[in-house]
């Protein structure tokens, strides 16, 4: 139990953990912490974990793949390690293949695609995705994590001819008896089920969609967590969606 005297320190601990304590109060509190007060240390640690809720309130934003390349180049330079990891090479090859497609689109998606392609005949899906990317009427939509999986993200390539491809990352494997259902939604009409995504143990997965052209243009794309075999209409929580709130 905490003494009332300590309550006074803990009040400062909140503001200290937030980084906003200043002036004499900051000096006093730092002096108190220097006495190795285990109560305050544990309290600040707990408060910092709580404050994680603040940055988690922001929508995660994937940085450009070039930043990662720069970081990796730096650490390789520091350690004299040669660039032997496959991923950067592959994404560069893909950028060549897709030619005119913006490099940014490709980098993020293909990491997911590689895992996905292990389970399907490679060349068929490769060329289907490349063709989709080449078609100027193909839309490239970002998917945002929602509900139970805020850290999930993905890309949805969609062509109103009815062909599309979804890539997801950070999507944990579904619980027993559940599945991730993918839906396309045209304005003011019922969601249309277009397939199921099975993320691998790294949370990455993909789905190639070959559906029929719809009369209305699709404007929302979503993945929901459903009981297995629920394909008539979504009933479970949305885990990824193409719209920002």
């Amino acid at each position: 139990m905490m003494s009332t005297e300590h309550a006074h320190w803990l009040e400062r601990g909140d503001i200290y953990a937030l980084g906003a304590l200043d002036g004499v109060e900051l000096k006093d509190f730092q002096a108190h912490l220097a006495t190795e007060c285990s109560i305050c240390k544990a309290y600040i640690q707990e408060t910092r974990e709580t404050l994680n809720l603040l940055h988690r309130s922001l929508r995660p934003t994937t940085p450009s793949p070039e930043v990662k390349e720069r970081v990796l180049e730096h650490i390789d330079g520091e350690n004299g390690v040669s660039l032997t990891v496959a991923q950067p090479k592959k994404s560069r090859r893909w950028q060549r293949i897709t030619g005119t497609i913006a490099a940014g689109i490709v980098g993020v998606m293909l990491a997911g695609a590689y895992y996905h392609f292990r389970y399907e005949p490679r060349h068929t899906v490769y060329s289907a995705v490349v063709n989709l990317l080449r078609d100027p009427s193909t839309r490239d939509l970002q998917l945002y994590g929602a509900g139970p999986t805020p850290a999930a993200k993905g890309r949805f390539l969609w062509n109103d001819s009815g062909e599309g491809h979804v890539f997801v990352t950070n999507l944990p494997p579904p619980p027993e008896g559940k599945m991730y259902a993918v839906w396309t939604i045209a304005q003011s009409s019922a969601p249309r089920y277009v397939g199921t995504i099975k993320p691998d143990v790294k949370g990455q997965g993909g789905l190639h969609i070959n559906s029929t052209r719809s009369v209305l243009p699709m404007d929302t794309f979503a993945v929901t967590l459903e009981n297995e075999d629920t394909t008539a209409a979504p009933a479970g929580p949305m885990v990824l969606v193409s719209k920002q709130s």
Binding site: E49, N52, K68
Partner: protein, 187 residues
């Protein structure tokens, strides 16, 4: 590319400490989106946020050995690094801006409308139903000014023209509510 099991972040940091490049790459993939969104919110300019992201992850690579799971989660450790670096940058940007503002009133130089604008912008980027979005406006505001804009309690009081005591009370009430949301309410 082989599919590896999802490694828990503490193990990843331990591997990074042993200079394992693949572990670092995985750690980057997992955490760069949250760090980048924080950097963007704090610094606003994309190029500044990208530079910051790079610095933060280089620091992770170089200092993974000092991480200790007893002192907190990898996320809290990483965000702590990110915020301290971002706040340093913010302060130097503000000093730079202030030197261009020809005024002898530090409050006026310190509080151009940009902070108001950034609070407005951030609203649109908040995840619906997120913790912050669920805080009462007055509490959300002081927490945002401290956490994202790097202002101290006195600076916030000056900016909002509120008594220091009010600002402190709101901050603590806000944090207390966050604890409630996490179910970690102190007894």
């Amino acid at each position: 590319m082989p599919v590896e099991p999802l490694v828990d972040p503490v193990t990843l940091i331990q591997r990074i400490a042993a200079q394992n490049r693949d572990a670092f790459s995985q750690f980057y993939d997992r955490y760069s989106p949250i760090v980048y969104s924080l950097a963007l919110r704090m610094l606003r300019a994309q190029s500044d946020a990208e530079d910051l992201l790079q610095e933060i992850f280089l620091q992770v690579w170089r200092q993974a050995t000092v991480y200790s799971a007893e002192r907190g989660s990898p996320e809290a450790w990483l965000i702590n690094i990110a915020r301290s670096r971002a706040i340093d940058k913010l302060r130097s940007i503000r000093r730079r801006e202030r030197s261009f503002v020809l005024t002898d009133d530090p409050a006026a130089a310190e509080s151009p409308d940009n902070v108001e604008t950034s609070a407005g912008e951030s609203e649109s980027k908040l995840v619906m139903n997120s913790a912050l979005a669920n805080l009462p406006e007055a509490q959300r505001r002081v927490l945002e000014l401290a956490y994202f804009d790097g202002l101290s309690q006195s600076e916030i009081a000056a900016r909002l023209a509120e008594p220091l005591g009010t600002v402190k009370t709101r901050m603590r009430a806000g944090i207390q509510r966050l604890r409630g949301m996490l179910g970690t309410q102190a007894a």
